[in-house]
């Protein structure tokens, strides 16, 4: 965060400024380059100074889009995403992205308008209790009651959103505090120092440095383990710790699983990479954790989609758990060595401890473990059967083509469902910050706005959104935003005419009783819809068209592209650990027979 001296007027006195100008200036001083938002009554006075600000404003078509764009921007750039909307319905529309960002620890600052202070609590037009509604889905929120508090509240918001365990922070701004016609909205401009910000938050002191004794204990546990696995979570990416992770894994030669939130944190083409664990993880990643004698959990949180039935999860494993959030340690599984701290710092200290003690050179013989793992990888790869001519496309084939024909540093965003799992499974992630998805909350419709946010932050990169037809219909209107703002994202729409993941569960667990999951392949007509929104729309129906369509899409950089792939609805995501069962009961693909170690 930049430190700026208090501005003075040419005459030397402090500069008078109103709340709205102060808010925009505070965002500028925080280094904000783009705001995703949509104006309305209560936030109008803040929108006026935006005209004179160098900050780019991207006008969304629905406030949910603004929130997910801010998230996508944050995922891709590591900088906090900023969304700004008005009061009432706009604030409620952005609750889903706030919750999404909270679940996935995404740094985000959300500014909402509020009715004037005097009208709060009177059921005024477009009034809602925004801080009350968002209290449990934000890291923190604050209702501004005085214009002169705005610079400090904004600095606090960015500090809170980006430090410790990152997350969304909401600032609710009553209209009178930013209204230039209100004499009380004017004050002497100031910009709080870092010290003033810290002093204004006496209850906020995140622990970033791991305890040296615990780090030594971790080094010793690692050096005694014969079947260890590194269980890398999204915290690795939040802590910018991908390089440190790689150094640790290579130093002690320990394989790495990357959770859904950590895809890209460790290169998939690395010999130590085991890929994604969890409900739809690959057999080797799931079973390696299950059979391990030591799990080194780094920025991961033992989510139920990873552990399966907790009581049966990794029953022989000791646990080293590193997390910046003390509340994660022991929440699900009691660790043998808990370490509170920033993942990067702790991993670097761990590497140092392993070197300094000489333990790094005295690692036990793990050749048997490695052979076991490579045996599983050979026996249980991801598989699918290519479609016969005239049949619908296999989604896995589409994703393989997309992966192989797009630049290596392509950023890929997904919605939630089968297409999300297939993308995570079939993509080869080689770089951090190339994967954006809604993990914890599982928000359908996430991909299009998230991809737009990512592309706004990283305009030089190719950004693909992989979407399902159910998801597409939830947020497609943001493609109008993308077309208008010249943000050329690319959408690979896997249209199987169903809510595919729900259909899969109904097929497997509800005796094929398909209840309310059919969506129709051609209502709406996705190509016409795409064109109506200012995008190029291309329908792809046969395997030989897949590659050329992707190559054509990759060449288009003046507008968004929607490739609609007609895919086979009967295709299911495997492997699968049915909900509530032990990870040892993993179901592999139908042509691989029974799983089991």
């Amino acid at each position: 965060m930049g430190e700026q001296p208090t501005t003075t007027t040419p005459s030397g006195g402090p500069e008078r400024i109103n709340g709205g100008q102060a808010l925009i200036r505070a965002l500028e001083l925080e280094g904000v380059e783009v705001i995703f938002g949509l104006p309305g009554g209560a936030i109008l006075p803040v929108y006026d100074p935006i005209i004179d600000s160098p900050i780019r404003h991207i006008l969304v078509r629905h406030e949910q889009g603004a929130g997910h764009m801010a998230e996508g921007y944050a995922h891709a750039t590591g900088r906090p995403g900023v969304a700004m909307v008005t009061s009432g319905p706009a604030a409620t529309n952005i609750v889903t992205p706030l919750c999404d960002a909270y679940m996935d620890s995404v740094p985000m600052v959300c500014i909402t308008g509020q009715v004037p202070t005097a009208a709060i609590g009177t059921d005024a037009f477009q009034e809602c209790d925004t801080v009350g509604i968002t209290r449990s889905v934000t890291k923190h929120n604050e209702l501004v009651t005085r214009a002169r508090d705005i610079p400090l509240v904004i600095r606090q918001a960015f500090h809170l959103a980006t430090t410790g365990r990152p997350g969304p922070v909401l600032v609710d701004i009553p209209k009178d505090t930013v209204d230039p016609k209100n004499p009380d909205a004017w004050f002497d401009w100031y910009w709080p120092t870092d010290e003033e910000v810290a002093a204004s938050l006496p209850g906020y002191k995140p622990t970033t440095k791991g305890h040296p004794k615990k780090i030594r204990e971790a080094a010793e546990l690692i050096s005694a383990a014969v079947r260890p696995v590194i269980y890398a979570g999204g915290g690795i990416l939040k802590a910018r710790a991908a390089e440190a992770l790689r150094e640790l894994a290579e130093l002690v030669d320990i394989p790495v699983v990357t959770t859904l939130m950590a895809r890209g944190a460790f290169p998939d083409d690395h010999p130590l990479a085991l890929g994604m664990p969890g409900m739809h993880g690959n057999y080797t990643a799931v079973t390696a954790m299950q059979e391990s004698d030591l799990l080194i959990a780094l920025g991961s949180r033992f989510d139920d989609r990873v552990t399966g039935k907790v009581a049966a999860f990794a029953p022989h494993a000791k646990i080293i758990h590193v997390d910046i959030d003390p509340a994660e340690l022991g929440k699900v599984r009691r660790p043998d060595v808990p370490i509170v701290g920033d993942c990067r710092g702790v991993i670097e200290e761990l590497v140092k401890a392993l070197r300094d003690t000489g333990l790094a050179e005295r690692q036990p013989d793990r050749s048997e473990w490695r052979q076991t793992l490579s045996g599983w990888q050979e026996k249980y790869p991801l598989t699918y059967t290519q479609s016969e001519p005239g049949e619908l496309l296999k989604p896995q084939y589409v994703l393989e083509q997309l992966r192989d024909l797009s630049p290596q540093d392509t950023i890929v965003a997904t919605g939630v469902g089968q297409h999300q799992m297939w993308t995570s499974q079939y993509w080869t992630f080689r770089h951090p910050y190339t994967w954006i998805c809604s993990g914890g909350l599982g928000t359908m419709g996430f991909s299009i706005p998230a991809a737009i946010g990512a592309k706004a932050g990283m305009p030089e990169r190719t950004v693909w959104a992989v979407d399902g037809d159910g998801c597409f219909q939830m947020t497609a209107q943001e493609l109008v935003t993308a077309a208008t703002e010249r943000i050329p994202v690319k959408i690979a729409l896997l249209n199987n005419a169903y809510l595919g993941m729900v259909r899969q569960w109904q097929e497997m667990f509800y005796e094929e009783r398909y209840s309310e999951v059919y969506l129709s392949p051609d209502l709406p007509d996705y190509v016409k819809w795409a064109e109506a929104m200012g995008c190029v729309g291309i329908r792809v129906e046969s395997p030989e068209e897949v590659g050329p369509a992707i190559e054509k899409a990759n060449q288009i950089n003046d507008r968004p592209v929607v490739l609609e792939f007609r895919t086979d609805a009967s295709e299911k995501v495997f492997p699968m650990v049915p909900a509530g069962l032990s990870n040892s009961e993993i179901v592999v693909g139908p042509d691989q027979g029974e799983g089991g170690a």
């Binding site: 801080v131 009350g132 209290r135 449990s136 890291k139 923190h140 209702l143 809170l160 938050l201 006496p202 209850g203 906020y204 959030d325 003390p326 509340a327 022991g330 929440k331």
Partner: protein, 176 residues
């Protein structure tokens, strides 16, 4: 809220030091409500430094979820410190005001009962008395039980406040 004392093995007293600001109490209580835990009693007041308040929460919860709630409370930006007060190692006080039927026949018994408890009679009506007692919560329960047969008209308790017991060893003596 129930008027009876919580089961002792699940009864936990938390002392939470917070910023004295709007919405903080709601943030704290929400963490209990979200998990379906009823707050048995709650007392809030500013500390000697009026930038801060102390919240004393009595809650029925198993120890494991309580540990998680305490960690979540610690995550709240406006929370500075949380201590769980073991009833064995803390002094607890609660204030009760109770209005009870007092006929000419029972009035002297009630005055005597109040005397035994060192309670004070703070208001007298034609056929009612209001008694005030500040004591350990269990003593309040006892008085309430003994008054009940006389006919309690209204009872209001503050919820308990608590502080850790002081160290009895002289400052210079080594701890044993």
């Amino acid at each position: 809220m129930s008027a009876t004392a919580p089961a002792t093995q699940q009864h936990h007293v938390l002392s939470v030091l917070v910023e004295n600001k709007a919405g903080v109490l709601s943030r704290v209580t929400n963490l209990f409500a979200r998990r379906g835990y009823n707050i048995f009693s709650l007392a809030v007041a500013p500390t000697d430094d009026d930038r801060f308040s102390r919240i004393t929460v009595v809650v029925d919860a198993e120890s494991a979820p309580l540990e998680q709630i305490v960690k979540q409370l610690n995550k709240l930006i406006n929370v500075l410190k949380i201590s769980e007060l073991d009833p064995q190692d803390s002094v607890e006080r609660e204030l009760m005001l109770v209005t009870v039927k007092a006929t000419t026949e029972t009035r002297s018994q009630l005055v005597e009962l109040a005397g035994i408890f060192e309670a004070r009679i703070v208001d007298v009506g034609h056929d009612e008395l209001t008694i005030s007692l500040d004591e350990e919560p269990a003593r309040l329960d006892d008085l309430e039980d003994l008054l009940r047969p006389h006919g309690i008209v209204a009872v209001q308790r503050t919820g308990r406040v608590a502080l850790p017991k002081l160290d009895r060893a002289p400052a210079h003596a080594p701890h044993r």
